[in-house]
Amino acid sequence: MLPSLTILLVCQLAGEVIARLFKLPIPGPVVGMMLLFAGLVIRRGIPENLEKTGTTLLSHLSLLFIPAGVGITVHLKLLADEWLPIVVALIVSTVITLAVTGLVMQVLARGKKS
């Protein structure tokens, strides 16, 4: 648990440093994800410990969004004033994005198989 958590943190730290050093528009943890991915490709496999820790962390991914989500309480007035455009934009745009992205990828992936 401890060594593998350290690996994740080291990747994140390196990601944050690289993102800032090269003024990348990409967030540090995402750079960290790329670094870990590159590491796994070079190593040609996932260490057992890392796999266990990663899977545990990801199985509770929902939990990690709650603190930021509770921030909604700060914006209740604005949400009450502009609820209609916000609700419509969120729902309709999410539905369209899901459908468009899924269809584009499915069509292209199918085209390649044949």
Binding site: L8, M33, S62, P67, G69, V70, V74, V88, T94, T101
Partner: protein, 241 residues
């Protein structure tokens, strides 16, 4: 016990990080239990339920958000290492990823553009304020990225975080219905759609749907974060100038 003692205990609890952290874990587990009891119906989304429970509790107890976050930040912090850990399911799917690389890149670019343009366009058409429209632009990227992009285009970062979270919840609630309705059955395509539209909260749902779906959703979430930071400022430039 004397009322003064109770008062003193409450003053301690109100300011200690212990209460916010414990409340977050309790609410999440209660929400998870309810969601399982409800046969995992997407409407009982655990993130949504937890936010409602904690938000209600904070308002009833008169605790402000910053005090709560003081404790909850320990959970919030784990988002970073969890994002890094998304490389693990992605690596397991490396063969599938390489085989469908073009489809992934095109699907993602089309999807991320659709997400930002449709949200800002709809909000504009329905008369939202400019601040709200701008805050909606980066909503399909995960909350910390949405906040950074929002700041750079003149939106309200904290509002963008809320929009991103609401988008994530919307995505995880409607994803299966929408994708079934338009007959997207390819598991990789389903994952890419969920991750592009609804970042990490959607990915948490996609992981439950299956290994391939979860991995592609995680990949899409990471790539959408990158695409959004590059694309949304461009779109805003086109729309507002």
């Amino acid at each position: 016990m004397m009322p003064d003692d109770l008062q003193a205990i409450w003053v301690y609890l109100e300011t200690s990080p212990l209460l916010g952290l414990t409340a977050t874990l309790l609410a999440y587990q209660a929400a998870h239990w309810l969601w399982r009891k409800g046969h995992m119906t997407p409407l009982l989304n655990p993130v949504l339920l937890s936010i409602l429970m904690i938000g209600g509790f904070l308002m009833a107890a008169g605790i402000d958000y910053r005090t709560y976050f003081n404790g909850a930040q320990f959970v919030h912090f784990l988002l970073g290492p969890a994002t890094v850990a998304l490389a693990i399911p992605l690596y397991r799917q490396i063969r599938l990823l390489l085989r469908s690389l073009t489809a992934v890149v095109v699907g993602l670019l089309v999807g991320a553009t659709t997400a930002a343009a449709s949200a800002m366009g709809l909000a504009w058409a329905l008369g939202a304020s400019e601040r709200t429209i701008l805050s909606l632009g980066p909503k399909s990227a995960t909350a910390p990225i949405a906040m950074a992009v929002s700041e750079s285009i003149g939106g309200l970062p904290s509002l963008s975080a809320v929009m991103a979270i609401l988008t994530g919840i919307t995505g995880s609630v409607v994803a299966v219905w929408v994708l079934d309705a338009v007959r997207v059955r390819n598991e990789a395509a389903r994952g890419l759609a969920i991750g592009t539209a609804s970042h990490g909260i959607g990915t948490a749902r996609a992981i439950q749907l299956g290994e391939v779906t979860g991995a592609f959703s995680g990949l899409a979430m990471g790539l959408t974060a990158i695409t959004t930071t590059l694309l949304v400022p461009l779109l805003v430039g086109l729309m507002f100038r």
